[in-house]
Symmetry: C2
Subunit: 787 residues, 2 copies
Amino acid sequence: MTDPLPFDVAPWSIGLSGLDESELAHRESVFALSNGHVGWRGTLDEGDPHGITGSYLNGVFERHPMPYAEAGYGYPSSGESVINVPNGKVIRLFVDDEPFDVRRGEVHRHEQRLDFRDGTLHREVEWTSPAGRRIRVTSTRLVSLSHRPVAAVRYVVEAVDGPATMTLQSELVANEALPEVHPDDRVKEVLDEPLAACGAFVLGTSATLVHETYESGQRIAVAMDHTVSAPGRAIVETEVSDHLARTTISARLEAGERLEVVKHVGHEWSATLDPQALRDRADAAVDEARRAGWAGLTAGQRERLDAFWTCADVEIEGSPRLQQAVRFALFHVFQSAARLEVRSVPGKGLTGAGYEGHTFWDFEGFVLPVLTSTAPEAARQALMWRHATLDHARERARQLKLAGAAFAWRTIDGRESSGYWPASTVAFHVNADIAAAVLHYVRATGDDAFLRDVGVELLAETARLWMALGRWDDDGRFHLDGVTGPDEYTAVVDDNVFTNLMAGQNLEFAAAAARRHADRARDLGVTGDEIDAWERAAGAVAIPFDERRGVHAQSAGFTDHARWAFERTTADQYPLQAHFPYFDLYRKQVVKQADLTLAMFFAPDAFTPEQKAANFGYYEQLTVRDSSLSAAVQAVVAAEVGHLDLAADYLAEAATLDLDDLHDNTDEGMHMASLAGIWTALTCGFGGMRDSDAGVRFAPRLPPQLTRIAFGIKLAGHTLRLEVRPDATTYRLSDGPPVTVHHFGEPVELEAGHPLTLPTPPLPDAGPRPTQPKHRAPRPFAEALRA
Amino acid sequence: MTDPLPFDVAPWSIGLSGLDESELAHRESVFALSNGHVGWRGTLDEGDPHGITGSYLNGVFERHPMPYAEAGYGYPSSGESVINVPNGKVIRLFVDDEPFDVRRGEVHRHEQRLDFRDGTLHREVEWTSPAGRRIRVTSTRLVSLSHRPVAAVRYVVEAVDGPATMTLQSELVANEALPEVHPDDRVKEVLDEPLAACGAFVLGTSATLVHETYESGQRIAVAMDHTVSAPGRAIVETEVSDHLARTTISARLEAGERLEVVKHVGHEWSATLDPQALRDRADAAVDEARRAGWAGLTAGQRERLDAFWTCADVEIEGSPRLQQAVRFALFHVFQSAARLEVRSVPGKGLTGAGYEGHTFWDFEGFVLPVLTSTAPEAARQALMWRHATLDHARERARQLKLAGAAFAWRTIDGRESSGYWPASTVAFHVNADIAAAVLHYVRATGDDAFLRDVGVELLAETARLWMALGRWDDDGRFHLDGVTGPDEYTAVVDDNVFTNLMAGQNLEFAAAAARRHADRARDLGVTGDEIDAWERAAGAVAIPFDERRGVHAQSAGFTDHARWAFERTTADQYPLQAHFPYFDLYRKQVVKQADLTLAMFFAPDAFTPEQKAANFGYYEQLTVRDSSLSAAVQAVVAAEVGHLDLAADYLAEAATLDLDDLHDNTDEGMHMASLAGIWTALTCGFGGMRDSDAGVRFAPRLPPQLTRIAFGIKLAGHTLRLEVRPDATTYRLSDGPPVTVHHFGEPVELEAGHPLTLPTPPLPDAGPRPTQPKHRAPRPFAEALRA
């Protein structure tokens, strides 16, 4: 780990003073803005210097060939990669013909600040040009939460110490270079300048660029217009060419005078609309933004965020950095999904091109539960997206000679984009993770219409997949052979406990849903025999248990294998996959990321407390956390089995993973699932929250480092907030009918307006703190979250 | 299968009358000539039409990038592909300016014939040109067994029915197109015109082209000169350019007169020699060939082949086609290796570019035993080649974080060229197969110097690999986890029986060799403790046995898995790998090629007769023979367990695999291991031959279809021939000291000049004939080998 960036600590924002070219890409990810439709990385207004420029529209990608040294049946022949759409962030400034460039002249002050309640990225710079003219630039950028296609920048430049002519070049720039997402030349070639011009238009001072991709069949329109306020006359001119639109704004300022420009940018894309229709929509978005005005846009941000925070805010006492980190994380998760409209959240959100912009299982597994509890409409939109990809998933299942639907392991539009089947195609658990997300959503919202219209089909088609995959053995158990669970250092195994339990849950829930909505199920061709078979299999999934060692085997035979030689592995040999061949990782006991431990979190009732404690201790010794998906899960289970201090350390790791760039790849974008995991570690870890058909269960306990946590969740549209203190927890239901929850196993009825405070039972002795592989213990909480 | 080519049936040759453009590539493979250094496909002299042109030098390849959709640690970044060297076969003919082209004019007769004793490819054509001139062309081609760099063509054209001017263009053609060996564009680009010109020379009438490859750092020189006999004056002119050398020979013939040209071609390559030195060598080869003359070259062929056939010939009574097929096979195997000189035999020999010209484990596993028994010097040369690649193998082991040497799964120069690790890197058994080849060679030859100088190092380094790969468990057994055995439909498994037994044999033999040559072992750093550890592990390898089913599990847990749905699999879904994903093949009981059955052949003493019978019956039901390596092995074990009729059917399949193009890919070259398997099925199957430290064991028994088999093997330089009849076998030792062999388990001492005839014991009842998966039973012998 290099030195972490010196972000300041504040309760509702995160700021950074100074500027160092080597850290730009990291900063740009942290300061990225999005609304789930548009994503703008936190680049400087003037575009240069930059780390990784990035302007994304959710769902826009280019299709590229997938190269194989040795191809095989069912290998996808093409893959998908997120591409840059025309960049509307750019506002270049010339001061008396000197370009404003932080690498030249003198920077007196440089500060960027992301505000979690305003939903803006604010920047202040004081700079003296090489010719000696001092200016002050203040820019505020937003990606609108209230107007889906809109992003905007308010840019103010002030002549500080004398007169100057200020010339702004505000641009839309197409075909900006992408970071290398794939080393293959053919892929690079396809992704180099992926946009072909369809038209470039000027209307008054507005400009619009329309492009299309060569292979993926998508069209993109980006439009801009400006509102200019100058003390005297300002000249405004707009020109366009195929890949550049430029509005030049020029004004003479006296000392102390300011030029203010508000840039409105509209973004639309479509796989079906013709260029003219698409252009009209982008232009309409700009018009709408201009009508709303800067005040309207910023009010819209505040309004949407206030509504979000009212329920979702997590208050922390005992660690200001953790307080900031959890709000920062919730802000990123929320903005990644605020205006999804039947699209998914990529692994990196819209904050970078990492993972080629793909969505993985951890969206449903880690991000969706947070949205379900705090912004359920966004969760519904994302599940609608999965449902919209059902035809691709059915086609994939057919190709694999299975039944039902096999959802893509990594994708943008729903088609499989994985090139290494042992860690993708056979990681069938993604299907059960989607089913579980449906279950959580329906439990939290009571949205029975969704269950009928969307859920039953998702559940039935995934249930059919499991039935085609599984086999009954003479032992009377239902087995799933040759699959890969969450742990990517163990692949193509039989009876992965996580997969089997999740498949069982999927089958059980599918049967219940099909019985509840029998008409809908019948329309989908689900027979009574089929439902019976689902139930039988659900009740009989094989769960390997190693009697000799007294722990569950992560998969059949896992605990018999040689243990990884952790003592001989040096700190710089992590992540292991970069230094050892897969085959050696696969055949030994070494765990990349929580797998059996995740099973204990996602299927809590399948294990006794004693099994949980024994399993956790056993797998802690094997888990190296080479994946960002692990720490939060380990925090949750550590807390459940009573290792609150260890849980706090894991929480701290999740909380600092992107801010401190622990995996050295935050440059490529924020880790959405890990950000979501911070919330999860707090609510499901220290809050002990688990959902169930009989109501949400809580078992709140604070770690020694914290004196108070408060958090809220949405239940059937109403807000339940918990305030956890060391000795007791207070439950507050905002409104609506009474609900039953469980406090340490005891059912409790909560009424709106009647807070209930319940004591925390004493913590049973959890035994000695579990140990981790050499070099892989988490940093202590106090060290990671030092103020 | 399309209609097989109508090859004629003859005891010592194979011929084909007529010509059909659609079958050219198949014919070219069957009629390919080689000496292990040079390989010439059986294309027509005039070059066109052709199926797949091909002129190879053993060891010449180009290096190309290996593309991966998702790369991983230890994946080879580049691969190797055989390329065409300048083609010296081409002799174009013009008859009064009309090109001789079998697609034009009228072909009255066209015959090609490969002669197994002459070592020549003979061709006769009678043709009338579109202008009405009738000619007779007789060409004989050879790749010299006595002069390593030399190939030659005697080309005779006769004016049949009137005077004509005959003009021959005899050429060397560089950069001829290769068939597509890899679908990736980057690979194709590298392999398109892979030769750069280094020089083109004329000296008198001779011509020499020198080229070099762009990436692999090899230089190639090919030279030619001609001996011309014409009734009158012949004009001979030679010209060269970068990629073409042409000698034009023109003569006027009256009706009945002939023009005879002998073309001598010399081939050399080197990774170190400069162009001039290489040119000199190629020129010297041509001079040498001219001095030997056509008579000398053909005498050399006959002499070498007579020597070979004296020991190696297999006589068959009862099936003329089988008689031809076995000699054809032995001829191909012998010529592929006759002049190896520290190189290997690729999977397709030098008969085509299939498998990119790579050598695999089946060379040591299938081809080397035949050479060891019939041409032991060739076997020695091939083992020297493996030894010469030890540094690459050590480097690979280091890269894989193992010890000793990890030999390449597929390679030309010893570097790993595999792109799919589950079916290559972890198929570690290749190392034990190499060790076994050393064992067989030493047993058959008694070549103790080889064992000391070459064998000990090969054995010790492979033994070290096994020790690094294995683990001791509490059960006191030595386990090998996460490997792939011969069956490529089952991958990355624990304790593959074949691998474990072969590894045990490797360790045991390494220990014995190290004790025998203690000085040499010490020089290699082998310690006494190390040898002890090898012996302990050798005696303790885990051998999974399924008590419930009473059979060995091919690998741990194999017999617990679901059985492939053979009943639902249609005939056109074979080979399965082209229609089903790997993961589904891997997790089910379905066997591509003999694996446990191969273990029973290669480690015969590890199984009781009852186990062999039970195992064979069990695995017959699962084995689909999607690999050409399977039928011969199944023949051997079927014969051993008493199913002689089934063994005969499998032998027939091996015997017709290339002649009838059963796998629809003989176009790309002959399957060397399958050809070798014909011999193996006869000698080890019906001869019951197995080697051992206590002498060779035989258990000869004829199938009902045959009345007599005779075959010979080399033992310590002397020839032992067996003549097997239904009721008895006669053993004849040519010369040398007495040897002990075993006849049906009884030791017998054989003396030179004293044939011994021993009776065949009655065949115990083998029970009902084992069954195969639907659609996958072998054709009956009588149908496959109908005359």
